[in-house]
Symmetry: C2
Subunit: 215 residues, 2 copies
Amino acid sequence: MRTYGQFCGIAKALDIVGDRWTLLIVREMLALGPCRYSDLRNGLPGIATNLLASRLKELEAADIILREAAHPPVASHLFVLTERGRELEGVLRELGRWGMPMLEEPGQDDVFQAHWLAVPAKALTDRAPDEPPAVVQLKAEGVTNLVIEMARGTIHVHTGRVDHPSASMAGPPELLSSVLAGTIALETAQRRGLHVTGDLSAVERMLPLDDEKRD
Amino acid sequence: MRTYGQFCGIAKALDIVGDRWTLLIVREMLALGPCRYSDLRNGLPGIATNLLASRLKELEAADIILREAAHPPVASHLFVLTERGRELEGVLRELGRWGMPMLEEPGQDDVFQAHWLAVPAKALTDRAPDEPPAVVQLKAEGVTNLVIEMARGTIHVHTGRVDHPSASMAGPPELLSSVLAGTIALETAQRRGLHVTGDLSAVERMLPLDDEKRD
DNA sequence: CCGGATCCGGGTTGATACTG
DNA sequence: CAGTATCAACCCGGATCCGG
């Protein structure tokens, strides 16, 4: 492994997670939870299979992920983040926040997958722990849907759909991204084509407060 | 430029700053302020000069730095971070925090430079805005010294030495790093060989609070 | 189909030398 | 001082193949 050879926390971190694709692999596992090899490959369009295999080995050696025998019915094994791996969420949150301004326009030939919204969404906190649990369904055009669940002050995210959500948001990726990141207000997004149905207060409860929006 | 082609803030950020050396160049400019080409090269031991030149061009194109004509007396020109560049501080802070546990042992052949402590130090806040300004001098073994100035609630860091600091800390890099990051308590560090002289309260005023130490 | 391993062409990096 | 030029080595991406 190539290192910078500097006695500096930033350099040490980049020694481990600074290689191409590495942080995106961690993003996948933060967004999806335990992943099969092919889940990862699907979430990382363009990665070479040998690179994915080699990165997974390096991440395992660095104690960021581990390989877990899957429960009998289905797959052979799963890749899971360790505690040390989950601690990278702060890095990814800051990177995502910094990169958000570049998502304002729809993106020419970019691929979009709904679960990538999970990282900004997980950075949120449900500030109304006393309110009853609520579920918001996200539908981006042409991709898997996303479910955001709030209960007891925390937020949990997963892909898929749910039968009776408290509220639903549907629209183009850039509007969903910007709203979840707090870059634009909900009303603005609605005016630009975001469709919100159901309990509006459940959605508002989920969005960043003003002082969480740095950009 | 090679991009991931994903409509995702994290991927967009990595498209720009994910290349090898790029974030370390930003670290240098955050720590040192405006830099000459050779300041950067000195702070990045091991970088190839052509790589440095090419990264600087890319950073300039991405509006992260700009090239500024220097004031008459000395250099030809300086590299300065733009606002957009300074906004990367959050990313570097999180990376440094995550990498800190790897600095616990002195590091075999690693190079150390005092100004690398500036990034963790800048992440601090002076929580005693009403107290008089204070200056802490840092002396790591065998390298340039560092000055941390507190006044009116904020902290400012630069290299060099000052004549009459409020307090002084001297010792091996790993102790200084850990203390500034809040990984170990000041007393522990003193017991392990950190020398603190002068006004102890000035030093304590500068260290992370318990709830700022995540690790 | 899943989870890779192998091979190959081309782009990127790094070391050194050299120049205005 | 601030780079450019050159070149070898390595890394990356794409395709192919292979054992469960």
